[in-house]
């Protein structure tokens, strides 16, 4: 695994915008002046680790349900049974993204699983693929995300539900772009789609249905909006009354919860892909203190020998924290890369790399394209 300086495409801005990546220049988010180079064995290792970790996570979800451990994850009680039902019914899921620490030499380590609302999807599936075509067309890339998404939509188990709605927040262009890319993949799978802002979703109390702005019933909706917020909001209780199919499904709320990390360590102690993690703060000297619910690195604190060495501020942490052994990320020219490893359905389907100049990867990180070759 190498970080290589390469020549940027002179027309990269126009090319990125032509595929919809409108925010590529914000905070120099897209950086193709460098790229990461892997060999085939390293890619195979990442793929295998991702599939194994996803299987382990499904075991952990079943364990939480069977042993009624929802309270430890701060899940409101009224959602315990619906989550269990959702998992028992194998409710449809489209995607998730592991964040892995990896240096090409040691085995990958799971940092967390954003199984509910992962972003960076368009840049992973499309933007870095076009970069590869333009600059390294003879090499390969671990990225079949696009066709896996199209194929996964075709497995949605309902018929006759009309269109699929896609919800994102107002005033957030990154989320808007992400859901519109997902809409594109659903269209290619043969579905009719419609966007709606999260704030515009309506509730018709007369017939217990979620509705769009025309008051048409929403039967199926992909929501780029986390379950832990939905649980607590005014319409949260209505989820239990309605027949709307939500994507991602309710059971994914257990995986995006950082409480999954100590439970995985309990179930698979000393597994090479896991870092020791606990609910209690006194088991580790050097650790990452992570809120149960947090996004984009917010409110994570890093401690070495019980001394804080890094932190990212934010609004999270009211529900408490878990403690995960501190892992020294590899550093390349002062940059700390994190591997985002995509799961489409239940299958490892590609990676992306975001790197930051600090040890906590935040929403100010940079997206770096990658390729792999058999010649190194």
């Amino acid at each position: 695994m190498n970080r290589i300086h390469v020549t940027e495409r002179p027309d990269r801005a126009a090319k990125l915008e032509s595929i919809g990546l409108s925010f590529h220049a914000w905070d120099d988010y897209w950086n193709e002046g460098v790229c990461y180079q892997f060999n085939a064995a390293q890619i195979d290792e990442l793929e295998a680790a991702t599939n194994t970790l996803h299987d382990m996570c499904l075991v952990a979800v079943k364990h939480i349900i069977d042993n009624n451990r929802f309270a430890e994850l701060h899940i409101p009680e009224e959602f315990w049974q619906p989550i269990a039902q959702s998992f028992a019914e194998n409710a449809f899921s489209i995607y998730g993204r592991f964040d892995l620490a990896y240096d090409g030499k040691s085995v990958p380590k799971m940092l967390e699983y954003n199984a509910d609302t992962p972003t960076s999807l368009l840049e992973s599936a499309v933007a870095q693929w076009y970069w590869l075509e333009d600059t390294h067309s003879k090499d390969d890339q671990f990225n079949s995300i696009h066709e896996k998404l199209v194929e996964q939509w075709k497995r949605i188990p309902a018929d006759g539900f009309g269109k699929i709605y896609f919800a994102s927040l107002k005033d957030n262009e990154e989320d808007w772009v992400c859901v519109h890319y997902l809409m594109e993949t659903a269209i290619q799978a043969g579905f009719e789609v419609q966007h709606i802002y999260v704030e515009d979703i309506g509730w018709n109390a007369d017939n217990n249905t979620f509705v769009d702005l025309d008051n048409n019933v929403i039967n199926v909706i992909f929501k780029l909006y986390p379950w832990e917020w939905m649980f607590k909001e005014e319409f949260g209780k209505n989820i239990l009354k309605s027949d709307t199919m939500f994507i991602e499904p309710l059971w994914k709320s257990l995986l995006s919860n950082k409480g999954i990390l100590p439970i995985l360590w309990e179930l698979f102690p000393n597994h090479p892909y896991l870092l020791p993690a606990y609910f209690a703060p006194d088991k580790l000297l050097s650790y990452a203190k992570k809120p149960f619910f947090s996004r984009e690195g917010a409110n994570i604190e890093l401690y070495k020998n019980n001394e804080k060495i890094a932190e990212d501020v934010g609004p999270y942490g009211a529900e408490g924290y878990i403690y995960q052994e501190l892992y020294t990320l590899p550093v390349y020219e002062g940059n700390y890369p994190i591997i985002g490893s995509w799961v489409i359905g239940d299958t490892s389907s590609g990676i992306c790399i975001r790197e930051d100049a600090v040890k906590i990867t935040t929403n100010l990180s940079h997206f770096i394209p990658h390729y792999f070759t058999n010649t190194i």
Binding site: E17, S18, I19, G20, S22, F23, W26, E47, T117, P118, T119, A125, V126, Y130, D140, Q141, F142, N143, I145, H146, E147, L169, K170, D171, N172, E174, D175, W176, V177, H180, Y181, E184, I187, Q188, V198, D200, I201, N204, A205, L213, D214, N215, L224, Y225, P226, E228, W229, E233, E234, F235, N238, R295, E296, A298, V313, G314, P315, N363, L364, F372
Partner: protein, 159 residues
């Protein structure tokens, strides 16, 4: 090969200017929809733009003023009525608003605007209402806003 063979995109590149479309943003409104006995009545209220008047079969029109229901051997024969667009009165701007068939919201400029403002329903034979509440999702993001991010603005729900 572990890479996509081909990535066709049909929609994305054309949508970059579309992320600020004017959509309904209100906590609770009473959305109404008028039913008309004839298309002439409907278009007299709403005009002919935006496909405002749509025919609809009504199984039992006996309760609709100005119509008659045809009965044959005990079976009601459906009657064609005409539905105007959904609309509501925006109290914050004192403006009657309509929801187009595409889901966007615009001010009513057709003759019925003055009727809506005065609380009447124009030439309609009947009016149906649906009380739909909105804004019940989204508070978590707005509480979390301020962290910035590439978007530099509102709260992000993705990660």
């Amino acid at each position: 090969m572990k890479r996509s063979k081909l990535i066709p995109l049909f929609m994305l590149g054309t949508l970059l200017s579309g992320c600020s479309d004017n959509k309904l943003d209100t906590d609770e409104i009473e959305v109404k929809q008028n039913t008309y006995a004839t298309i002439a009545d409907c278009q007299a209220d709403w005009g002919t733009e935006d496909e405002a008047c749509q025919p609809q079969q009504v199984a039992d029109a006996s309760s609709v003023q100005g119509t008659t229901t045809t009965q044959s051997h005990g079976t009601f024969i459906p009657v064609i009525m005409y539905m105007g667009p959904r609309y509501y009165y925006d109290r914050s701007t004192s403006t009657p608003m309509m929801i187009t068939s595409g889901g966007t919201v615009k001010a009513v400029t057709s003759p019925i605007a003055s009727h809506i403002s005065s609380g009447s329903s124009g030439r309609a034979a009947s009016v149906s209402t649906a009380s739909v509440s909105r804004g019940g999702f989204g508070a978590g993001a707005h509480a979390a806003a301020g962290g910035g991010g590439h978007a530099g603005g509102g709260g992000s729900a993705g990660g």
